[in-house]
């Protein structure tokens, strides 16, 4: 009897263990595109709650599940490495001398994936849709209504935009994937007559969604999106580019960093979004084929939004520019990088990202002596605090009229980097005698506090925007955005509104009217930056780092610093360029 039970137990155990192995075989057999023809990307989300919504005119709709990397092609792509705007669906976008009439020329032979021709009618329809949105709730509706007076078709491949105001950056800001993505054109033959706020653009029976890209959607779920190559892609037929080598693209919600590491170690993930140094090293220990942007430290590529400390310049204490300047002097950027970033980024000397296209402006500021030092000058900072009437109390904290010198630094609580960097800065400030504290908040709370001016200081990147010209970032501090505390501000959250701010804004406004690449811009940048250096409404800290690993087991020629044909952001719309450049590591 005992023996019978023993054998039965053994049999059950074996069956249980054999089951997954059997299932593995079944699953492998169901895959109709081999792994070596498939590229697997990671989606940076816990899930895509509405996988069948492809209406990206509604702000917040997910596009980085493959929609704007494989299906919705941009008109142009800004290449950070060269600083040039490369043609894509558009071949040229040229302004008149006044920069208030722009003419777009489209590539010949573009077709939607359902075979209908992509023409200037689609462009005009999309822009008109945004101009007609009286609620201004559609994505880019407010922007288009601000800039565009009218849009008209000249011929099938030519569109003319008549602007309300001169705008030298019209192409750059809205149609060239300046950061993350650009305005995507809608197929008129499908969208016409639809309610643009509730239309989901998804119907498998009708083959929706469609785009002009080389891949079509095969399946969508909250956890994975499958895109298969379209052999009839217009680009190959029109001689724009050969079909990319990958036959199938999958975007999956890999989830935690641990999952990303385990998947990449087992060659089940080809591209992961932003992991930490420890995770990269763990992956590389198991998978020597895993590579990052840079081979050695700092491993990362610079995201366009450098990190900075931003003050509410109307705070009763921190309205004193000398106190803000003291904080800037006290902070040791290198120490922050060593501790909070494990050496994976570089310090900022200005508010700008260190891309090649930004170098002329960074150099102009440096030459003018307005760049901040990256090492600390604690004693100089303390002298400024003491000059403001503060003295250290028994606890080593500065105090004036019985009140300690406090600063609560608001920071987003959703990413380890943000909190670690802030905590390290808090530590530095406390050691210097400032009673600093970290105030981690969620996105909604932070946005509300920022917009209404209900904070003292914030670790953030609210002047993000410039990647190849300086105006976009500098304009974020423009006094034209000033709102009194309590009212909603949409930029200049720190309420910088002094005489210096006004002088700064006048220079920035002048700069904004000049054509891109105008020779006088670097000098104007240096002149304006003097006010930032003097009044310190923001304190540049470090460049934003992102470690983006790729597995070269199945696919090679991923973008790296040695092969920098484009930035390695596979969640951006410039992923098309990466897809065109990938090569199979194991040809069939």
């Amino acid at each position: 009897m005992k023996s019978r039970f023993k054998h039965l137990g053994l049999g059950i155990m074996l069956s249980l263990f054999a089951l997954p192995l059997a299932l593995n075989v079944v699953s492998a057999q169901t895959a109709d595109v081999p792994r070596e023809d498939t590229v697997i990307f990671d989606i940076d989300a816990t899930s895509i709650a509405s996988p069948t919504n492809f209406n990206d005119l509604v702000p917040g709709t997910n596009k980085n599940q493959g929609a704007h990397q494989a299906m919705w092609e941009p008109l142009f792509i800004l290449n950070y490495e060269t600083g040039k705007i490369d043609p894509y669906l558009g071949t040229a976008f040229t302004p008149n001398d006044k920069q208030d009439v722009w003419t777009l020329k489209l590539h010949d032979g573009i077709k939607w994936s359902d075979g209908v021709a992509f023409t200037s009618d689609d462009v005009v329809f999309t822009i008109q849709l945004l101009l007609d949105d009286k609620t201004k709730t559609l994505d880019n509706a407010a922007n288009m209504q601000h800039w565009v007076k009218s849009v008209k078709k000249i011929d099938d491949t030519t569109v003319e935009f008549d602007l309300n105001l001169p705008n030298p950056r019209f192409q750059l800001d809205y149609f060239s994937v300046r950061i993350w993505g650009g305005l995507t054109i809608k197929p008129k033959h499908i969208w016409e007559g639809q309610d643009p706020t509730t239309f989901t653009f998804y119907d498998t029976a009708k083959g929706w969604p469609i785009g002009t890209g080389p891949y079509k959607l095969t399946s969508a779920s909250p956890e994975q999106f499958v895109w298969d190559e379209d052999p009839n892609w217009w680009g190959a037929a029109a001689g724009f580019h050969a079909l990319p080598e990958p036959k199938r693209l999958i975007w999956v919600v890999a989830g935690s960093e641990t999952n990303k590491a385990l998947l990449m170690s087992n060659h089940q993930l080809d591209s992961a979004m932003n992991i930490t140094l420890g995770t990269l090293q763990a992956v590389q220990a198991k998978n020597p084929n895993a590579v990052a942007w840079v081979k050695d430290a700092p491993y990362s590529f610079a995201d366009p939004c450098p990190r900075e400390l931003e003050f509410n310049t109307e705070d009763p204490v921190w309205k004193d520019a000398n106190l803000r300047k003291a904080v800037s002097l006290i902070i040791d950027r290198n120490q922050n990088i060593a501790i909070a970033y494990q050496g994976t980024t570089t310090p900022s000397t200005t508010m700008f990202v260190s891309y090649p296209g930004m170098n002329p402006f960074i150099d102009a500021i440096t030459k003018a002596g307005e760049a901040n030092d990256v090492v600390a000058h604690v004693e100089d900072g303390q002298k400024l605090i003491e000059a403001a009437g503060y003295a250290k109390n028994g606890s080593g904290i500065y105090e004036k009229d019985g009140k300690t010198l406090d600063v609560a630094i608001m920071v987003g609580n959703d990413t380890q980097e943000y909190v670690l960097s802030t905590n390290e800065i808090v530590e530095q400030l406390q050691q210097a005698g400032i009673n600093a504290s970290s105030n981690p908040v969620n996105g909604a709370t932070g946005q509300n506090a920022r917009q209404t001016g209900n904070y003292q200081a914030e670790w953030a990147w609210n002047t993000c925007g410039s990647v190849s010209e300086p105006w976009n970032s500098m304009n974020q501090l423009n006094v034209s955005y000033y709102k009194p505390a309590g009212e909603i501000a949409t930029a200049n959250y720190g309420r910088w509104n002094t005489d210096g701010a006004k002088a700064y804004s006048a220079i920035v406004d002048k700069m904004g009217s000049l054509p891109l690449g105008d020779a006088s811009i670097p000098d104007l940048v240096a002149q304006a930056y003097k006010y930032i250096a003097d009044e310190t409404p923001i304190i540049p800290l470090v460049q934003a780092e992102k470690i983006v690993p790729f597995d070269t087991t199945y696919w090679t020629n991923w973008p790296t610093s040695d092969n920098a044909y484009i930035v390695p952001t596979t969640w951006w719309q410039n992923t098309f360029v990466i897809l065109f450049n990938l090569h199979k590591a194991k040809p069939a």
Partner: protein, 336 residues
Amino acid sequence: MRGITLNYFLRRLGIFFLTIWIAGTIIWLIPHLAPGDPISAMVARLASRSGFVENSAEIIQGWKERFGLNDSLPVQYVRYLGNLVHLDFGYSMANFPTPVSELINQALPWTIGLLLIATMITFVLGNFLGAIMVWRRTPRMIKYLIPVGMMFTSLPSILAALFLAYVFSFLLNWFPLIGSYDMGMKPGLNGPFILSVIQHGTLPALSIVIVSFGYWTLGMRGMMITVEGEDYMSLARAKGLGPFYMLYRYMVRNAILPQITAFAITLGTLISGQVLVEYAFSYQGMGTVIYNAILNQDYPVIQGTSFILIVVTALAVLIIDLIYPLIDPRISYGAK
């Protein structure tokens, strides 16, 4: 009905609706008390991905108008109650234009499929082990082994999930690490897909089972000890009844009643999902929907999911209350 008067039934029904109304009001109030709002959260998300959102004030104003967030709180509350009566939770603010019901319909089957099976296994296993821990005929070695196995109960489910993922997915490669079905597979009612779902659900289910069965085991053990000391057990033994018969008819049946009550309540809360387990395995389910809704202050989704949770839990308790007299003849409500 046996053991229940009409008066008791109506009173109990009244409490059921009162509970739902109070809970429904609380789930409306709490998100509104938190600083921020869903539209600001949406703009914050946009800003985090593209650096800066131009004209965000107009976007915020337009969407607040559309969702009625500019109306006074009493107006919003009355509208909310009206919608609840029609079970209309409206659109998700974070995933507009997706209706809340679509988000729930999408996630609920996965959660029920995973958690119902895991909870039933946990219930049966836990109670079985709790029973045999007290039963005199159980071999001593098993009595020692069960408490050792219960050490897992003190683990958080996320750690159990990580442990199982590392061993069975990464090292042994027996089970997939993430997702509800294979990468690249097209969902459908066919053998390979169903097998893939089972395969993908095994580790999440196991990580729930190994950290939860101990609660049932301990509860059952306590009840069994109480039952074993009853006079009728001495009488049964004196009558020479068989040990299996005594275990099932005398001990387990009497000890299991409170466990069934707890089980019903557990079933009611199933739909809230297992956030950490779902996160660990990137499994699509209600836990993730609720977590994201809270993160984005998505009022309609928070309210819709919580409301369903409340109704199901209250309904489970109501049903248990009403059927108790049927399960245990000693219980009667209001009967003279």
